[in-house]
């Protein structure tokens, strides 16, 4: 049987890629556990050759760099137009992309174009004889769905942080650079505005995070009182809490908000969607309080407490205050 082909797409901006892009090599290596697999990077964007060199050098997989000279990152539409002829020549069985805001714009278009299946938000992989099964979260992260392609290629968008490439990074592999012709597109990126993430949040030792489960804006008071018991603390929120206007958007933790890595992350009434976990998974110690014993957040916590916040938070505040007194007296 001939080798299965895996194409990994790396979006490049002035020679730089997302730090997690190299981890897609680990997914390719997993696919190779059961059959022979041939892997090729497609680095696409401005100064793509630099990125292509780095990726092929560290993984030992060949690379094609597709140069798109431009100031702002290319739109998803432009990327898909540029990639299509190369993917058409290559005929890959798997096209892997990182799950990013940009890739969401065009990954499905590639699937349609190549008559492929489409699995977004891949977090895991089961390799078996009948073909790979790709795992993704469903139902608020309470379950994983295993998805299988029906005898055809598959396009994947892979969540950062779930695969880890641990190669030693001194291979030699082929790298070629191409100057693709640029099509006229209907989308244009006008500008990217920087965010106003607060240092108080990203540098906090303790982050007390409010989810929709706090129930009302009034309960933020309880969270602030709780946070005040910890030195260098900050109150943050899930997207839903910020959408509701209970906290400003620069207090949002998650993929489209701040990334925090405090000593303690106290998740209050947060369900544990992967978009939220992306912003706090680097925390040293995670405690989750949630009324629902099945909440996904408990799988990403060191300690879990199944309680109603309305009754539990006052008890917790009281206990910490008392305990503080006990130790002071000693």
């Amino acid at each position: 049987m001939s080798a299965r082909k895996v194409a990994i797409i790396a979006e490049v901006e002035q020679g730089k890629t997302h730090p997690a892009i190299v981890d897609l090599a680990a997914l390719a290596a997993r696919l190779a556990e059961n059959e022979s697999v041939e892997v090729c990077w497609l680095a696409v964007g401005s100064n793509a050759a630099d990125a292509g060199d780095a990726l092929s050098g560290s993984t030992g997989y060949s690379a094609i760099a597709l140069e798109i000279p431009c100031e702002v990152p290319p739109t998803g539409e432009l990327l898909s137009e540029v990639l299509q002829p190369f993917l058409g020549d290559m005929q890959p069985d798997v096209i892997a992309l990182l799950h990013t805001s940009r890739s969401q714009d065009y990954a499905a278009t590639l699937a349609v174009r190549f008559d492929a299946a489409y699995v977004s938000g891949v977090q895991g992989l089961v390799v078996q004889d009948g073909g790979p099964i790709f795992q993704r979260a469903v139902l608020g992260g309470k379950y994983m769905a295993g998805v299988k392609a029906d005898d055809r290629p598959v396009v994947l968008t892979v969540l950062p942080g779930y695969f880890k490439f641990e190669g030693n990074g001194s291979h030699s592999a082929e790298m070629e650079t191409q100057q693709p012709s640029l099509p006229v597109t209907r989308t244009r990126l006008i500008e990217i505005k920087e965010s106003a993430t607060e240092a108080a949040l990203t540098q906090a030792s303790t982050v007390v995070a409010a989810g929709r489960g706090i129930g009302s804006e009034d309960n933020l008071d309880l969270l602030s009182r709780l946070a005040a018991l910890f030195p260098k603390s900050a109150v943050a929120g899930s997207r839903i809490v910020c959408d509701a206007g209970w906290l400003p958007y620069h207090r949002q933790v998650g993929v489209t908000g701040a990334t925090v890595a405090p000593e303690l992350y106290l998740a209050c009434g947060i369900s544990g969607a992967f978009q939220h976990l992306a912003g706090m998974s680097g925390s040293r110690f995670v405690v989750a309080i949630n009324i629902d014993p099945h909440a996904a957040i408990f799988n990403a916590a060191d300690v879990g407490v199944v309680e109603d916040l309305n009754t539990f938070l006052p008890l917790l505040i009281e206990a910490i205050e008392k305990n503080g007194l006990d130790t002071d007296e000693r």
Partner: protein
């Protein structure tokens, strides 16, 4: 301007009771007794469509759902919010349909209708794919912009200026020449509540009902073959005891770790 909004009816995750061990076959995964409602991101999509009409004027907004016999209620809610017309593509209930099945059915309906804009939610809360919208765009060969929270008409309905929040909270401003498909993220414009008078009218409104078989025979391309509990990425030790005891244990833990 002609606008189509795609709306999904989903089981309410909040009240849904979940089995500890999911059934072996995903086909047996049911949610009997769970109330169903409109996908939250689709409410935002309806709101975005209504706002586009308010600024642009002279627009018609259709709402469409693919779902079983009961799914029409989300269309009535959309009409109650201000949508002009509801299209119900009837299909037997399936918990985990392929996004291509849904995408192909919607495309089959939309293809000849000369829509300028198709709006979807950024994802369905139950399947969390963000797949159906981009697949429709791919099938129609339209450009697609995902996770948009704000959009404004430019050049009298020929171009939309859109904003979205990307990694790290940065804001991207993009423009797209129509026709285009956008997926709508929650955010600034809170969806309006349907007015009671409009809801009463919506209940009388004759929905356009089409059996899915009359539109096309989609190829699934893929299937959900297993539903499993997620793996733990941390210890996830669950505290036992009364609420008071848990509060005490936590407090001791924080002190022991020198956290407070």
């Amino acid at each position: 301007m002609r606008i189509l909004v795609c709306i999904k009816r989903i089981p309410d995750l909040e009240t849904m009771t979940f089995p500890d061990i999911p059934p072996k076959s995903p086909a047996n995964f049911t949610c009997e007794g769970t109330p169903w409602r409109m996908n939250r991101y689709d409410e935002y999509a309806v709101e975005a469509a209504l706002r586009l009409r308010e600024t642009h004027g002279a627009s018609r907004i259709d709402a469409l759902t693919v779902g079983d016999q009961d799914a029409g209620d989300v269309l009535r809610r959309a009409i109650g919010m201000g949508v002009d017309h509801g299209v119900h593509i009837q299909k037997t209930r399936e918990m985990f349909p392929s996004p291509f099945t849904i995408g192909e059915l919607i495309t089959a309906y939309a293809r000849e209708k000369a829509y300028d804009v198709i709006l979807c939610g950024v994802m369905s809360e139950d399947l969390m794919q963000g797949g159906v919208g981009p697949i429709i765009a791919g099938l129609l060969k339209w450009p697609c912009l995902t996770a948009i929270h704000t959009m404004n008409d430019k050049e009298e309905g020929r171009v939309l200026r859109c904003e979205r929040e990307v990694e790290g909270g940065r804001q991207e401003v993009l423009e797209v020449r129509l026709p285009a498909l956008l997926t709508i993220q929650s955010g600034i414009h809170t969806p309006r509540y349907p007015a009671l008078s409009k809801l009463l009218r919506a209940n009388q409104y004759p929905l356009e009902v089409l059996p899915s078989a009359s539109l096309s025979t989609p190829t699934d391309r893929q299937r959900v073959c297993a539903i499993t509990p997620p793996e733990k990425v941390r210890a996830g030790v669950m505290m036992e005891g009364t609420a008071e005891s848990k509060a005490h244990q936590l407090s001791k833990l924080f002190h022991a770790k020198g956290l407070c």
